[in-house]
């Protein structure tokens, strides 16, 4: 039995790799052309098929439905909204609710995250253990479960409005949410706002001036008494001259619910709590890793200059750690925004709930609505990334890196 000569190894795979690797050459060009053509053909098939199916089912394609009346109400809206408004307004209401819960969630997640990270690195044994326990507990439980926990176990356990917990008969906490007095602007409102703004700007200017003096001539100017005086004094002056800026509309229990006042609905509170505590656990680990990535010598150098631990962290360690922290931190912000769509489980009227949910089911325009919703989330994510990149660019520039 003769042994057949061994075939030479197939050249196809390496050639394909070379072609897709972007090497110049005739074969690479042909392959890329084929790839683009296939892509174009698939997209054409999808569009044509969708159109044929929609026509067969006599569903009107397009965005005309957005001008129709919505006909349903929403529990929380940042802009005036009623059932007789068009779907476009429902979209805006949902989008604003999503942004509201995301922005507030990001703020608290960052705050809690940094505090927990610092706690975990703290030399205080108890604080470090508590922070570590927090991270391990929160990070390892599913988010949806946590949202339902806050909503169904914690907030729903509050008393009904008639037995609500009240503070000074103006703040009421019940299973309908937190009701607080609502500020109503009076004649003195605008001067008051101007006074506050002027005071803040002046205080910042003063602080910067003092800082420059410190760096240039080494003279220490005590700023805070002046700043505090301005921030309290100017608005006070405005009140004396122009009258009170706001009066408060105190909520009263009438019928089933409170009338008047402003209200934080439990759905919003539960969602914000769950999103910020959950994301904070991840942020804490990111921040901790960032801080640990800064060489120990930096800390020791700071201490040997006589700086306190807090100052070393604030002035030396964290600015360097930020370069490491920022990219994964951005990811967490994006996650939080996207996770806010879990709102649907507890009836918080976010974009997915009112637009990709109710509106979709009422109009049946699945392709259009899912398309718009995906586009919006993509846009929010890209804008968030852009802001964070800009911030990162500023940090690296200020550090000369």
């Amino acid at each position: 039995m003769a042994i057949e000569p061994r075939k030479p190894p197939s050249q196809l795979l390496p050639r394909l790799q070379r072609a897709l690797g972007g090497r110049a050459g005739w074969s690479g060009f042909v392959l890329q052309l084929l790839f683009v053509a296939a892509l174009a053909w698939i997209s054409y098939e999808i569009v044509a098929n969708a159109r044929a199916n929609l026509q067969a089912q006599r569903i009107t394609a397009g965005f005309g439905f957005l001008a129709n009346n919505a006909g349903f109400d929403v529990s929380q809206s940042l802009i005036p909204y009623s059932g007789s408004d068009p779907y476009t307004r429902v979209f805006v209401v949902g989008l604003l609710n999503t942004l509201l819960v995301s922005v507030i969630g990001i703020f608290f997640a960052t705050l809690i995250g940094f505090l927990v990270a610092l706690g975990r690195l703290s030399p205080n044994w108890l604080l470090a253990r508590i922070s570590g326990g927090y991270v391990e507990l929160i990070r390892n439980l599913p988010l949806l479960f946590q949202i339902l926990f806050w909503y169904l176990a914690v907030l729903a356990a509050l008393p009904n409005p008639r037995q609500s917990i009240s503070v000074f008969d103006s703040f009421f906490l019940s299973n309908r949410g937190l009701v607080i007095p609502k500020p109503i602007g009076q004649a003195g409102f605008e001067p008051f706002v101007v006074a506050v703004l002027v005071a803040i700007v002046a205080a910042i200017a003063l602080w910067r001036y003092a800082r420059r003096q410190l760096f240039q001539s080494g003279t220490v100017i005590k700023v805070w008494p002046y700043a505090l005086g301005m921030v309290i004094g100017l608005p006070l002056l405005s009140v004396l001259i122009f009258g009170v800026p706001v009066t408060f509309e105190v909520p009263v229990l009438r019928g089933f619910n409170f009338a008047g006042g402003s209200r934080l609905i439990p759905e919003f509170v539960a969602l914000t709590l769950a999103l910020s505590t959950y994301t904070a656990a991840f942020i804490a680990e990111i921040v901790r890793a960032g801080i640990l990535s800064v060489h120990k010598g930096q800390m020791e150098a700071g201490s040997s200059l006589g700086l306190q631990r807090g100052s070393v962290l604030r002035l030396i360690v964290i600015p360097q750690a930020m370069r490491v922290i920022l990219p994964p931190l951005t990811n967490q912000y994006l996650n939080l925004t996207k996770n806010s769509s879990l709102a649907v489980a507890i009836g918080y009227p976010d974009l997915v709930s009112v637009f990709a949910g109710t509106t979709l089911s009422q109009t049946g325009q699945a392709i259009e609505i899912i398309g718009i919703t995906m586009g919006v989330y993509l846009l929010i994510s890209l804008v968030t990334s852009a802001i964070m990149s800009f911030y990162g660019w500023r940090i690296s520039r200020s550090m000369g890196g």
Partner: protein, 338 residues
């Protein structure tokens, strides 16, 4: 879990574009050997699974009747539980062949959703469930109340109309599934749970202390519930439509699950046409001559199905009311089967 629901919607939206245009639903079902039927996620009396996973209910019986008419086997069904919000997308995309899920027939749903209602299985209306301790006697006393509702329903829109029409304020909290809605109502987040009256009775069975809750007398809307099929396949539309009429017609003729074999030997011309010993009505639909016999054997006539699932034979104990036959004071009526 909810993210999955978005993913499903998304997949269905893509499916809508990928599935080949097909007008041959019956053939597809026969090839598959199974009817795909969209039902609720658990509504006692209408569509609910027992502890062994067997689905029962009035809406389920419609699907069982269709499967019996096609396969002579009422178990060849894949039940797809759907939330109110996802149901139409599932139908549009071809995921299910028929949607039999306590769905209200409205003009806009009949047109713009790309689907057709095939008839009315249950004449319903919207009502309110409240706690007895609130001492409310009428829906008109609900000013400033918090109302829990399931999203993606006509209920949500009727609610807005009713409170606006009566110059009352309210707060609406909309949930994706019926269970979440009832849970929120039970926990005290809302004063009122609103839905179709039949559903209120069914959901009341699920709360901890049913006797502490009361359905208010007002019925604020017409809610004719019925099965739905996709536009574009008239034969399939006819089959689903006449399956329901076969059940109602069987009750009119006095055909029951017990006597159907005997009645098949009857000499009465109208019974002969129905059971297929005279003419070929079933074949005209694309089914077999004995299609009605198969249906009645599987699920009984409309009255039997009603009493077994929601009427006197069930925990719900709902009276026939509007759903009685036209000849007995109701409005259930089948066009002539001839």
């Amino acid at each position: 879990m909810k993210r999955i629901s978005l993913v499903v919607t998304l997949a269905l939206a893509v499916g809508l574009s990928a599935q080949a245009a097909s007008a041959q639903t019956l053939k597809t079902i026969k090839d598959r050997g199974m009817l795909s039927c969209g039902v609720s996620q658990g509504l006692p009396g209408f569509s609910t699974p027992d502890d062994k996973g067997n689905w029962t209910g009035l809406d389920v019986d419609i699907c069982r009747a269709i499967a019996a008419a096609i396969f002579n086997d009422a178990t060849k069904i894949k039940f797809v539980p759907l939330s109110a919000k996802d149901r139409f997308t599932a139908l549009q995309s071809g995921e299910i062949d028929v949607l039999s899920r306590n769905t209200t027939w409205t003009l806009s749903r009949d047109t713009s959703l790309g689907a057709n209602f095939t008839g009315v299985t249950y004449y319903d209306g919207q009502g309110f469930l409240v706690k007895k301790s609130l001492k409310v006697n009428s829906a008109l006393e609900l000013n400033s109340a918090s109302v829990c509702v399931q999203t993606g329903t006509t209920t949500e829109q009727n609610l807005a109309d009713y409170f606006k029409g009566n110059n009352m304020k309210y707060e609406v909290i909309a949930f994706a599934t019926a269970d979440e809605t009832v849970k929120a109502y039970e926990s005290g987040r809302c004063d009122v749970f609103t839905s179709d009256v039949s559903q209120l009775y069914a959901e009341r069975l699920k709360v901890a202390n049913p006797a502490e809750h009361v359905v208010l007398p007002e019925v604020i809307s017409k809610e004719p519930l019925g099965p739905m099929v996709r536009h574009g396949d008239d034969q399939w539309f006819d089959i689903v439509k006449w399956t329901l009429y076969a059940m109602v017609g069987a009750e009119e003729l006095g055909l029951t699950q017990k006597n159907v074999d005997e009645m098949a030997k009857s000499d009465k011309p109208e019974v002969k046409r129905a059971v297929g010993t005279d003419g070929n009505l079933g074949e005209q639909l694309g089914l077999t001559k004995d299609w009605m016999v198969r249906i009645v054997k599987a699920v009984g006539n409309y009255g039997e199905s009603f009493e077994r699932n929601v009427g006197s034979g069930s925990k719900l104990g709902i009276a026939r009311g509007l759903n009685q036959l036209w000849s007995k004071g109701g409005i259930q009526y089948a066009p002539p089967i001839r």
